[in-house]
């Protein structure tokens, strides 16, 4: 099992080395398949490792595999150690499994691109970094992966670097993420100062002793970590980079900006769950930020014309749901939604990629419509994903989203207000996803005459179908008790955050089991959440199920709001005005005025004075070496005398 776990990391790394060495020399097919198979092999290794781990007992403690000592100096000892428990099991399976499908899909999608080899090298590097992130047993390891995926995201968003917009989007993503990272680092420093270690398990284990039931320290630290999470997981106020990230190739959007990397923030909070449980204030912040993001992004998604932008804001919104779950104290449910979201959102993006492929790189839904007959497989699979996203029973998203709404109300840290906010976002979800389906696949065709849509090749459609199966059925691993299931996945993940339950009991909170007794409320809320999803569908149908959906109903009904939604509520403009421009102006001032005029002016002024003096003194110079030597000796003697006195 430990070997298998090492192989999980090794295979993508082999892919990177291979890509660097041969990526530009070998033919496309070879490069694409070898890179994909590296991820496939990692998936198989992950399966072996995880089954081995479950074989030890599904409720067992994690297994740690020490690789080597990374830093050891003074009191700082950081090992490169891997940690496999239930949480990281789910994560590595999602990352390698979905990752493999997306790699295979990319062979078709990236066909003919001059950067084909580079693309797969980056994708393999990304997978490696992401696995490091979820497997690292120390915050430092996690952070290496964290920044590593950020780097790959930067490179892949700016993959078509000759486009100014792509290059700018990549840079924006990295810089905005760095703001979160700065907070993350601060949090790590605080943790190290308190615990004297960065080993996650040790921190969690000792947290009660050291933090003695909460206090300001744990609140500050968890808030800092959460700011880090908002950067990576695109939550308000650091969400602005993700929609721009759609400049990258579509498989990148699917893998990095939907299924895996953006969920790293959710993973971080779940991983450090014990600390978060000790900071109720932070949890409320997490829940509110999540809920707010879910709503705001939902509104923006409704007003986008670019099919990928809709999905981007949908991702932001769904990540908000996950944070809502975390904030309510239902960590395993947040991860459950992370998993189902990886299936259906990955699928939606790949489907969108298939549409874009068919439309000769057009992404504007105003030029689509009626594509159902041209792209039957893409349509069917995207419909399944859409139903899952909207939360229609019994598709995967239904189980996880329904559970989030329930926990938001009745979870350890839940509140009916959280539920209400989540409910609004759930309606918005239904509206934007059915709007997307209407405008793209249904209704009459608005496709320009020079475009001839066609179904994509098998390398693209087969991954779509596999993901569709997962998106449809993947939720049954988390079938709740009220529906006769065992909530297996929640229990499973709950073992890893098991420390959480005990911890909470210790501080006097109530553990996750508390929620299980409340089956009456659960049934009611479940029915309500189905109604919410149907409401979304009903609205979308009323607005877009017409012969010609344009101009869109909300646009004519509320032009002011529509404009704000189209303009993404002016976040970018606001940041530019309040931070970007003033900072640049200040820097220019520092350079042009302070550096050049004040400091250097002083120096040059002193120089001028010296020169003038020197001219005057030059009169004393007579040109005899002897007299200089005499003067030097004299000076030295005077100096020595002065010092000796």
């Amino acid at each position: 099992m430990t070997t298998a776990l090492k192989l999980v990391l090794l295979f993508p790394l082999i892919g990177v080395v291979f890509g660097l060495s041969f990526g530009r020399r070998l033919p496309e097919k070879v490069v694409g398949w070898i890179s994909s198979l590296c991820i496939g092999a990692a998936f198989v290794s992950a399966l072996i490792a995880v089954t081995g781990f479950i074989g030890l007992g599904a409720d067992g403690v994690g297994v740690s595999v020490r690789l080597f000592e990374w830093i050891s100096t003074g009191p700082v000892h950081i090992d490169a150690t891997l940690w496999l428990d239930q949480l990281s099991s789910v994560m590595i399976l999602v990352v390698t499994g979905v990752g493999f499908l997306i790699h295979v899909y990319s062979i078709g999608y990236m066909h003919g691109d001059w950067g084909f080899g580079r693309f797969f090298t980056y994708m393999n590097l990304f997978t490696f970094a992401m696995l490091l992130l979820v497997l690292g047993d120390s915050l430092a390891m996690l952070f290496i992966g964290w920044e590593g995926v950020g780097l790959c995201s930067y490179l892949l968003i700016g993959f078509w670097f000759e486009k100014d917009s792509a290059a700018d989007a990549g840079r924006k993503a990295f810089v905005v993420n760095r703001i979160g990272d700065a907070a993350f680092i601060s949090g790590m420093l605080g943790i190290f100062a308190l615990f004297g270690t960065l080993e996650i398990q040790e921190i969690l284990h000792n947290s009660h002793e050291i933090l003695a039931g909460g206090g300001a320290a744990v609140t500050i630290i968890t808030l800092l970590l959460f700011v880090g999470a908002t950067g990576k997981s695109a939550q308000i106020p650091l969400h602005i980079w993700l929609p721009d990230a759609m400049e990258g190739p579509t498989p990148v959007s699917a893998l990095i900006h939907a299924a895996t990397m953006v969920t790293a923030g959710v993973y971080l909070v779940a991983r450090m769950g014990v600390l978060f449980q000790m900071a109720p204030v932070t949890l409320v912040v997490v829940a509110l930020v999540g809920a707010l993001t879910a709503i705001v992004a939902g509104f923006i998604a409704i007003a986008q014309h670019d099919i990928k932008k809709v999905l981007a804001y949908s991702t932001v919104s769904q990540l908000g749901f996950m944070f809502l779950a975390l904030g309510a104290g239902a960590f395993s449910v947040g991860i459950f939604h992370l998993m189902t979201h990886a299936f259906f959102k990955g699928l939606l993006f790949l489907g969108a990629g298939s549409v874009i492929h068919a439309m000769a790189d057009k992404q504007d839904m105003r030029e689509m419509g009626g594509l159902k007959k041209h792209l039957p497989i893409t349509h069917a699979t995207m419909l399944i994903a859409g139903l899952a996203l909207a939360g229609i029973p019994f598709f995967s998203g239904f189980f996880s989203k329904d559970e989030i709404l329930f926990e938001a109300w009745a979870g350890p840290n839940g509140h009916p207000l959280f539920w209400a906010l989540g409910a609004i976002a759930a309606v918005l979800t239904g509206i934007y996803i059915f709007r997307l389906l209407y405008l793209t696949f249904w209704g009459t065709s608005r496709v320009p005459d020079d475009v001839h849509p066609h179904e994509s090749p098998y390398t693209m459609t087969v991954p779509l179908m596999i993901l569709a199966a997962l998106a449809a059925l993947g939720g049954f691993v988390g079938l709740p008790q009220v529906l006769g299931g065992g909530a297996w996945i929640q229990e499973f993940i709950g073992n890893a955050t098991g420390a959480v339950s005990h911890a909470v009991e210790a501080v006097g909170g109530h553990a996750e089991e508390a929620t299980h007794g409340n089956s009456g409320l659960q049934v009611v809320l479940m029915v309500v959440s189905v109604l919410l999803a149907l409401t979304g569908y009903w609205i979308a149908r009323k607005w877009y199920g017409r012969e010609n959906p344009y101009p869109e109903v909300p646009e004519t009904a509320a032009p002011g709001l529509w404009k704000a939604m189209r303009q993404k509520f002016y976040f970018d403009e606001f940041y530019f005005m309040v931070i970007g421009r003033p900072l640049q102006k200040a820097s220019e001032w520092l350079y042009r005025v302070f550096d050049v005029k004040v400091i250097d002016g002083t120096v040059n002024g002193a120089g001028q004075v010296t020169t003038t003096l020197a001219r005057w003194i030059a009169g004393l110079q007579v040109g005899h070496v002897g007299s200089y030597a005499l003067a030097m000796a004299g000076g030295a003697i005077i100096l020595m005398i002065l010092l000796l006195i």
């Binding site: 990374w70 830093i71 100096t73 003074g74 952070f143 920044e147 780097l151 290059a167 700065a182 820097s587």
Partner: protein, 552 residues
């Protein structure tokens, strides 16, 4: 060490460090007698000599005992007995690391700039070798007088490199460089003399031996003044904000080789001096200075980064980024904590590698386009993919991306600073955001975007020589990031020693400050006198080593 073997090699081995200085000097002399137009021969001599020094440096690395705090490879010879100046050299982990860095960067910078200078070759190559000798001398001198001589000697070839082979404003830049440094080093000279006489008066022994000077407890007043004088000289060299304005000018005007060595090695002289002199000799003054130095360092980190962000010239962008990076190093030094100190020393090496590499890379495109304006480039990744890959790795190393070298040092420094006080670490943290801002702006401007300038469309990717130059740099940039342990290990004893020295004065600060510690100096006097017949120098941990080597 088999120093006793009276073989030929044995006697060379006994003076191994001296040979690392002598060989470049001999090389420079050899170049002096080569006919004027034999440019390739001169460069060849310089290269071979610098490679020999590198080989010697690597020998030192591998035969060095990383777990000892003692000064190894020590040599002790009479020099000017009349004033108590001796030829004392020796290296601890810090000196060893910087010596190897110097020996490593010199041939690399030379190969990297092989074709960039075409005139006055004799002076150019000779200056390079003299510069190397001077820099190594600074790092190995164990006698203050000797140190000062190397410190000044090294300035001259650098001055010439900037002033003769530099850009259009080279004379202004060179004069500014030398005057700035001289102001500092003049104060340091006075302080060295004062320290010499003070030590003499307190102990009766007039010596420049560092090991002896480190032991005395200076009275509060002189300690403060001497600390200020030394530290001022080093801060200019670092350069610590606000003494940095010579740096952008020097970098912009210097030829590529000069920039690489200036950033790679010369800037470390300042931080080296702080660690070698300012802290151990003046521990009380240094402790008092912590808030001031930390403040200046943090200002440097933020200010340097912001100013770098708005530069149009790539070289001056990198120059200002050095102000920010060295700010981190100074911050780490003044934590007085083992992890901060070793982080700082490692960061000195890291900065040497990444900034050295950046300047070489800037040199590559400068030679192709004869401009360094960022706006003149754009889209180079399309025509120069290998160059793009190198620049990316180096830029991210400089930005402190985990997994590459820069992060390890920065992280250790921040951890140490936070332990001292969150206020020492948190204000520095925006620096890492700003680093991403300016480095990605540079990368964006050079590599990405449309390839819209005709001149850029025909650019050739790196040739074999240029690739070979970069590979060792990249190797260590990745290696230190992934597996920093072999680089941290030799620093451990040094850091622990300085930490101990600094904490020894921390508890009874006031008491020690006011009373001249007569007991300690008496003890020392006795010790020293007992040693006198053997040699007129110090009793140190390395004594056995060099007394064994003093065969004559």
């Amino acid at each position: 060490m088999n120093a006793q073997d009276l073989t030929f090699f044995g006697s060379i081995w006994a003076h191994w460090l001296s040979w690392t200085i002598l060989i470049p000097v001999l090389g420079a002399l050899a170049i002096a007698i080569v006919p004027k137009d034999r440019h390739t021969l001169m460069k060849g001599i310089a290269l071979v000599v610098s490679l020999v020094v590198l080989a010697m440096g690597l020998t030192i690395w591998f035969s060095f005992d990383p777990d000892s705090a003692a000064f190894q490879f020590a040599e002790n010879m009479k020099w000017i007995p009349g004033i108590g100046a001796a030829y004392l050299v020796g290296i601890d982990g810090m000196s060893m690391m910087l010596l190897v860095l110097t020996a490593f960067l010199t041939p690399i910078a030379l190969v990297g700039t092989w074709t960039s200078v075409t005139e006055k070759m004799k002076g150019y190559t000779a200056s390079i070798l003299m510069l190397e000798a001077g820099m190594i001398g600074v790092f190995i001198a164990r006698d203050l007088f000797l140190f000062y001589i190397f410190w000044e000697a090294m300035l001259i070839p650098m001055y010439l490199l900037i002033g003769v082979w530099g850009g259009p404003r080279r004379v202004y830049a060179a004069v500014k460089f030398i005057l700035y440094t001289l102001v500092g080093s003049f104060l340091m000279l006075i302080a060295i003399l004062a320290l010499y006489f003070l030590h003499g008066r307190l102990t009766g022994i007039y010596t420049f031996d560092l090991a002896a000077l480190e032991q005395i407890a200076l009275p509060f007043g002189p300690q403060m003044w001497l600390f200020l004088a030394f530290t001022f000289a080093f801060c200019i060299k670092v350069p610590l904000w606000p003494f940095h304005t010579w740096l952008p000018d020097a970098h912009v005007e210097a030829p590529t080789f000069g920039s690489v060595i200036l950033a790679g090695v010369l800037l470390k002289m300042g931080t080296y001096g702080l660690l070698r002199f300012s802290l151990p000799i003046f521990p009380i003054a240094a402790t008092i200075a912590v808030p001031w130095m930390a403040t200046l360092a943090i200002i440097g980190i933020i200010y340097g980064g912001l100013v770098a962000w708005v530069q149009k010239d790539i070289k001056s962008l990198v120059a200002y980024s050095s102000v920010a990076h060295l700010g981190f190093v100074v911050l780490g030094i003044f934590t007085f904590r083992a992890e901060g100190l070793s982080g700082s020393i490692l960061q000195m090496v890291n900065h040497g590698l990444s900034t050295g590499a950046l300047f070489i890379l800037v040199g590559y495109i400068y030679q192709r386009r004869h401009t360094r304006e960022i706006s003149e480039f754009g889209g180079l990744a399309r025509v120069m993919p290998i160059y793009a890959a190198f620049l990316l790795v180096v830029a991210f190393s400089s930005a402190g991306l985990p997994g590459l070298n820069g992060f390890v040092g920065e992280f250790l420094i921040l951890i140490a600073a936070f332990q001292v006080s969150p206020w020492m670490a948190i204000p520095a943290i925006p620096g890492i955001i700003i680093a991403a801002l300016y480095l990605l702006r540079m990368v964006r401007g050079i590599l990405w975007g449309p390839l819209d300038k005709e001149e850029n469309k025909v650019l050739k990717d790196l040739n074999l020589r240029e690739i070979v130059t970069m590979v060792p740099l990249l190797f260590f940039i990745v290696f230190i990031g992934v597996f920093p342990k072999p680089f941290l290990r030799p620093l451990e004893p040094v850091a622990a020693k300085i930490e101990k020295r600094m904490s020894s004065v921390r508890q009874p600060v006031r008491y020690v400050i006011e009373t001249p510690t007569t007991v300690e100096s008496e003890e020392q006097e006795i010790q020293l006198k007992a040693e006198e017949p053997a040699s007129d120098t110090e009793p140190t941990e390395s004594d056995e080593l060099h007394s064994a080597e003093m065969v004559k």
